[in-house]
Symmetry: C2
Subunit: 340 residues, 2 copies
């Protein structure tokens, strides 16, 4: 690439199913110019999250990306020009950079989603995983929505993904049994070996509902759902009395053209006096300090292990997002755009 242009992916049409490069335009544009109070940031890493697929074709908790706009994505970059006294060139910042080499970001209290400076010494890979939306989603979802108690059985789907791997580890830290559902023997072995999950179910080769019945003879106290679909139904079928279903996402449905079938077994909530509840991690940002403090302590002491799956090159952005939906990633999916 030329250093005086900004490569960027703009949304050309609403994707159907797995995204294709042709759903976007990938062009070179002039590097944008920051206005007063704004900063110009060179993208280093992009966070790759399932929710980004939702943003491409429907309004949800955020409006859909308008056709013609740069694809929305969070990431970490380096300030190259600052029109704000609070930022200096060279600072590492986190914000909604988008699929592009350079972004102009708003900063300060007036901004809707202001860029924030990375704490000194925090590696971008860690900031975008354990301390990023996926780690925080695991933390608040399991503790606040799931309200796990010592001795309970926690099941998490998408367990080898960025959020799932954290859910199981935090559950173990809280004295729970942790059972992960993931695709393929390698992921399952990693969950029970490296990460200390009590058990793992390979949804590709095993009957998830039957295995849940074997592994959870007293039922599932907390099911943390990242995938929806048949696995949600299997978990509902084994819900313990007063069990909780934490709705985090339904990755199996994000590429579906129409609304997926609902969970047929939802009446387990009635029989078992269960609760199914959704949440969006941004609602918890006023309690960020507590989460970061806990997570920081667990990471520093080695009680929680992190794993990132780094692809390289902005030109691979669509293909990298698809990795989430083909179950290709292990750990937090990142896209490295430039060297720090």
């Amino acid at each position: 690439m030329r250093s005086d242009t900004n490569r960027c992916w703009r949304l050309a049409s609403r994707p159907v199913g797995l995204i294709k490069d042709s759903d976007f335009t990938f062009g070179e544009e002039p590097i944008p110019v920051p206005k007063d109070g704004q900063i110009l940031v060179r993208t280093l890493y992009l966070s790759v999250d399932p929710t980004q697929r939702i943003w491409l074709d429907r309004d949800s908790y955020m409006p859909a990306v308008p056709i013609g706009d740069v694809v929305r994505a969070g990431g970490i970059g380096k300030v190259v020009r600052s029109n704000s006294p609070a930022f200096a060139p060279g600072d590492l910042v986190q914000g909604l950079l988008g699929w592009q080499d350079y972004a102009v970001l708003a900063v300060g209290d007036g901004a809707l989603l202001p860029a924030t400076k990375l704490p000194p010494g925090l590696a971008p890979e860690l900031a975008l995983s354990v301390f990023g939306v996926t780690g925080l989603t695991a933390y608040f979802g399991l503790l606040d929505i799931g309200r796990v108690k010592e001795g309970e059985t926690v099941v998490v789907s998408g367990a080898a993904g960025a959020t799932g791997m954290m859910v199981g580890q935090i559950a173990r830290l809280k004295g729970c049994r942790a059972i992960g559902i993931a695709g393929g023997p390698e992921k399952c072995a990693w969950l029970t070996g490296e990460l200390g999950f009590d058990a793992a179910i390979d949804y590709r080769s095993e009957n998830v509902e039957a295995r849940l019945g074997e592994l959870c003879p007293s039922g599932i106290d907390v099911y943390f759902d990242n995938v929806g679909g048949a696995i949600l139904d299997a978990a509902l079928a084994h819900l313990a009395m007063r069990g909780r279903v934490v709705l985090c996402g339904s990755i199996g449905d994000y590429n579906a053209a129409e609304a997926p079938a609902g969970p047929r077994n939802y009446l387990s909530l009635l029989i078992q006096r269960g609760r199914m509840e959704g949440f969006i991690v941004s609602d918890y940002f006023d309690r960020l300090d507590q989460a970061v403090s806990d997570l920081g302590g667990w990471v520093s002491s080695g009680k929680i292990k992190n794993r990132v799956d780094v692809q390289e090159g902005l030109e691979k952005a669509p293909a990298t997002l698809n990795r989430l939906f083909t179950s290709a990633n292990v750990g937090k999916q990142l896209l490295k755009v430039a060297d720090p």
Copy 2:
């Protein structure tokens, strides 16, 4: 009938769809004899509740009625013979009498579901409706699971039924807007006229989802679900931020041969940070005093109106249960078996 025999309905086979007389045997048997500590009760009124259909063909929060057993149903009767010092002939008692003229009931602390004496002066119709499982279900479901707050919008389906009519009225008492969904113009007129609901939707002639959108421009804060199916989906589509879905039942599904489709719109719970929770009223029996005191006050002061739909004759038991599923009843369905 001869006065020395006990007519009783016994389950002959698992019903499919709406029950038929031929799913049962209706015969005359000797009047049962109470053992020590038991009482013999003449059935006066039987409570007719949707959950009784569930008991006929599947295990749920209670085991299914075994083939050959008398059909399970709560009711009120008069003690005709007592082998317990706590009961005397002539006492009115409430308990699981079943579809029969005479029942032997266990009493006292040792019994699993002991018969209880009616408070003096309490009419059986009131004991089985406002103060029965349906009234208590409305009370605890709306207040404890729904956690309604003043100014909120409450929508209830099956609104002209025993539980639904109470939900709307209690919601109004708590300063909420109450919208009922019921079948037919007469029921809807009764809800908004006599009972003071703010609005009613006739699901037979109106587009429920469109009407909910019109009537709830800020969304539904609490949806109390008695019916499941498409109406649950319509309500989910209009859930307000932090809305709650109280799962009380799914009357539309109880006669279905297989598990119904789940709610396609369940991901509203995620986007709206909503909660869907089930409950069984018997879990709240330790707080009966509080509920009875509140409900008693509201009924005495005319703030809550009651309505019962009384059919007569034990021979009509199956047909009367079906009335719930053909939307024939208005208010609490009862079956009168004998004069008090």
